[in-house]
Each structure stands twice: as structure tokens, then as C-alpha cells.
């Protein structure tokens, strides 16, 4: 009785993955999902389907826009602290310290209720082209989330810039590279690559900061779940679905960052 080597190897690989505790966990998970589907109330779902999709879309674009703008601010903030003259390093450091040292909710409200109530007092602002935007809530949401991300990532980038080996920058200098070329070709790419694992975690954190925008009337996916609760008095089902949606978005973020990290292989030890 002989079993082909390949199927043996396959079986070994599969059995290594399919261990008893994993099978048990998967069974538990499946049981949870099935019981949730069977025993909980999901009849409200069709009524809020469109609103939920809009909310998901709004959560995602706020996340993407604030992360992109934030990192663009974080690069100069980090560079100023890592290599800038004191008159640039000090304000950058102060900015990061103040923003990181106060709650995001407070910043959001200061901007929305503070600036938002200050602006209408100036006729020239009310008459300007920007007014149609400034009277809405989302610009304040985007602004405060961007500032917050910039401050945290400014600190991350400071370390990342400082961690690039001096010798590699010196080599670039020794071959006649101009300072900006060195920054663009050597320093920034290496700093970003070093920062990627941290940035992945920070982006997931940023995702979980986005529900705060619901407090200033921006209808993201969290606001939709609250709406369902208020309308129908159904509490757990919308929250469970909300958790699942955030989990999926987090998974996608982590997957994308892994892809980016893998572009340059790293040897440990």
C-alpha cells in the first residue's frame, strides 16, 4: 500500500494548518454567525441599506483623505524635528506635543464649535467662495482628523528619518547628489519604509477615531448605526454589524500595508 509522496506532503501541510484547536475555533465562529443570523433581528436592514452604504463610503473617504493629508504634513514635521534648525524643530515639536497631549474629541469640538461659530461673524467669509463648504460639518472633521494624524505621524517620521544610516546619506553626497535629490531618492523612501509597520497600526487607530465625526453631524457608518437604534430601538444587531464593518476595513488596511512592506524584502538578524 503506497501513498504518493505529493499527497502525503499535501496532507501534512493541511494537517499542520487544520489542527484540532483551529477546527474547534472555526466551529464556534460558524455557530455564532449562524445563531446571529437565525435568532437576531435583521428585518430593519433593507430600510437602511442605502444609508449604510453611504455611511461606509463616508467613513472610508474621510479615513483615506485625512491619512494622506496627514502623512504629507507629517513628513515636514518629522524632518524639521530630526534635522531642522531649532527655529523649525521647536515649533514642530510643540505642535506634536500639544496635539498629542489633548483629546481628539476636544480638538474636533474646538474647531467645529469654535471656528464654526467664529466664521459667520465675518461678512467677507460669508461672501467668499469657501462659505458653502465652511458652513458644512465635514471640513472641520477632515481638518481635525488630519491635524491629529499629522501630529502622531510627525513623531513617527522623526524617528524614521533619524534611523536612516548616516553612511548611506553620506554615500549619496559623495557622488554629487543634490540635497533635494538625496531627500527624494534616499532619505524619504527609507524613512517611509522603516515607518510602514508603525503607520499600519496608526492608520487602524485613525479608522477607529473616525466615529467621533458623528458628534458634529457628519453621517458616517457609526452615525448610521446610531440612527437605526434611535428609530427602531434595536440595539445589538446594528452594533454587531458595525463591529464587523470596522473589522473588515481594518483587515483591508493591514493587508495593503503588508503588500507595501513586502515590496522591499527585509532580513532579520
Amino acid at each position: 500500500m503506497s501513498i504518493p509522496i505529493t499527497s502525503l506532503a499535501e496532507f501534512a501541510a493541511r494537517s499542520a494548518w487544520l489542527q484540532p484547536h483551529r477546527i474547534l475555533l472555526m466551529a464556534v465562529a460558524a455557530a455564532l454567525v449562524i445563531s446571529a443570523a437565525l435568532f437576531m433581528r435583521w428585518d430593519w436592514l433593507p430600510n437602511y441599506y442605502g444609508l449604510a452604504l453611504q455611511g461606509i463610503w463616508r467613513t472610508i473617504w474621510i479615513l483615506v483623505v485625512t491619512c494622506v493629508l496627514g502623512i504629507m504634513l507629517a513628513v515636514p514635521l518629522g524632518l524639521a524635528q530630526a534635522a531642522g534648525p531649532w527655529w523649525l524643530a521647536m515649533p514642530a515639536n510643540a505642535f506634536c506635543t500639544v496635539i498629542r497631549g489633548t483629546p481628539l474629541l476636544l480638538q474636533l469640538w474646538l474647531l467645529y464649535y469654535g471656528l464654526g461659530s467664529l466664521f459667520p461673524q465675518f461678512p467677507w467669509i460669508r461672501q467668499s467662495e469657501l462659505w458653502p463648504y465652511l458652513r458644512q460639518a465635514w471640513p472641520y472633521a477632515v481638518l481635525s482628523l488630519t491635524i491629529s494624524f499629522a501630529a502622531y505621524e510627525g513623531e513617527v517620521m522623526r524617528g524614521a528619518f533619524a534611523g536612516v544610516p548616516r553612511g548611506q546619506l553620506e554615500a549619496a553626497r559623495a557622488y554629487g547628489m543634490r540635497p533635494f535629490t538625496i531627500f527624494r531618492r534616499i532619505w524619504l523612501p527609507q524613512a517611509l519604509h522603516r515607518a510602514l509597520p508603525t503607520l499600519a497600526g496608526e492608520t487602524v487607530l485613525q479608522l477607529k477615531c473616525t466615529p467621533l465625526v458623528a458628534t458634529i453631524t457628519v453621517v458616517d457608518i457609526y452615525a448610521v448605526a446610531s440612527r437605526v437604534r434611535q428609530d427602531t430601538f434595536i440595539v445589538y444587531e446594528p452594533l454587531l454589524l458595525l463591529a464587523l464593518i470596522y473589522l473588515i476595513i481594518s483587515g483591508v488596511i493591514i493587508f495593503l500595508f503588508r503588500k507595501m512592506e513586502a515590496r522591499i524584502p527585509v532580513r532579520l538578524g
Binding site: 544610516p165 554615500a171 553626497r173 559623495a174 557622488y175 554629487g176 547628489m177 522591499i264 524584502p265
Partner: protein, 270 residues
Amino acid sequence: MSGAAASTADRPAADEAAEAIHIENLHKKFGALHVLKGVSVSARDGEVVAIIGGSGSGKSTLLRCINCLENPTSGIIRVNGEEIRLKPDGHGGAVPADRRQIERIRTRLGMVFQSFNLWSHMTLLENVIEVPVHVLGIRRAEAVATAERLLERVGLADKRDVYPAFMSGGQQQRGAIARALAIQPRVMLFDEPTSALDPELVGEVLKVIADLAKEGRTMVLVTHEMKFARQVATHVVYLYNGQVEEEGPPEQLFGDPRSERLKQFLRNVH
């Protein structure tokens, strides 16, 4: 400079070839530390100048002053007859007066570092074409062709798509030599190219350098490998405590050293 004056006349074929590197009365201070105390060294086209000396003698600093990786405190540096314009930095030292000039001069000097300093976010091939493409403005296809030839030469053709972290020290250093050659430098500068290598990897790097010397490339080489310096150098400079203690052809310096300090140095390293 005790023994320096006497030996200048010994240099063979000195006057016909143009001076590639000319250093005159170079001083370098790091704060209170006076590292170079009036050093004059020159390398003519086709010469291989080896700079030897104990640790702390200033030999690496001297090499790094040639392309202004260290700014000299005072003195004259000429590369292919072009003097690097310096201006006072306001703290008693000097800095290059014209950034464009020093960047242009640096593209004629192929520097090889003790710690290789390959760019770790690029493959070996990308390392080699980086400066030709992004500094010298050479077309990518052309730069790749040149780079492949150079990698072939240093025996790393099969490593073109490998990242530096996955190469041995000897391979990294040979790659770094290919990177320096890719800018088609007038002079190669070697800063202790084998000091960071495991003993069994030193040979492969020295062989590449010896090949370059054989084809008549102008080189300035700071090294601890006395036997190697004796084989490849056409002129040897012994630095002691920031000054040229003795210089001359290798046979004389290693065979019949005049200075007492050099004799002792050679006894200690052999």
C-alpha cells in the same frame, strides 16, 4: 613634515602626467582636536597613492577632505586642476563656497567606504544606476547596460536583483566598487575598503581593486593592508599624527624606511 621633502624627487614619470589630485598645506580641526597639520599630497593621472598610518593619524580624514565630506579648516585642494573654492564658515573653518562646484567635482571622484554604504532600499542594479540616472542624467537603458557590464566585472552579475541585506560583506563591497565605477570617475577614493570585512572575504575585494590598478586607474587608497599597498601602489604616504612623516615609492618605504616612526609602525603591523 620631517622626511617628506627628501622623497618627492624619487617619484618616477612624475612630470609628464597631469595632477589628478593636489592637496597643499591641508589643516583640519575638529574643535580643539587638530587632526591634519599641514598635509600636502598629490596623485598624478594613472598613479595609485596609498595612504598608510596608525589609527588616529588622520588618513581617513585626509581622504574625506578631498571630496569635502569633511570640510577642511584651511588649505588648497585641486581635482584635475580645478581648485575647490572655499569660504570661511564663521567659526574659524571653511566650507565650499559654491555648492554646484563641489557637487560637480564629486561626480569625478568614485568613493568607496569602509562600511560599503549601499542603499538598502534598492537592489544592487538600482544602486549602480542611481547616480548615472539621477545625477548625471544618463538614459536608463544605457545606465543599465553599463551597470551590467560593471557587475560582470566585479563578479556579481547574478546578484543584480538582490538587496544589499542579502549579500555578504565582500559582495556588498564589490557592489559598492561597481557603483563608484558607474559614474566614470577620474579618480577612485578608497577609505579602508577591507577593514569591515571578515578575513576570508578580504581577498575577493582586494583582487577587484588590484585589477583596477592594473588598468592604470588613478586611485587614492587608505588601507591597513600593507602587503597589498606594496603590491598595487605606485606611491605611498605615511601619515603620523596629522603630518606626512615619510613618502615615496613602495619599495623604498617598505624596504628601506628612513623615519624611525615608520620603522616601528611597519614592525608592529607585520
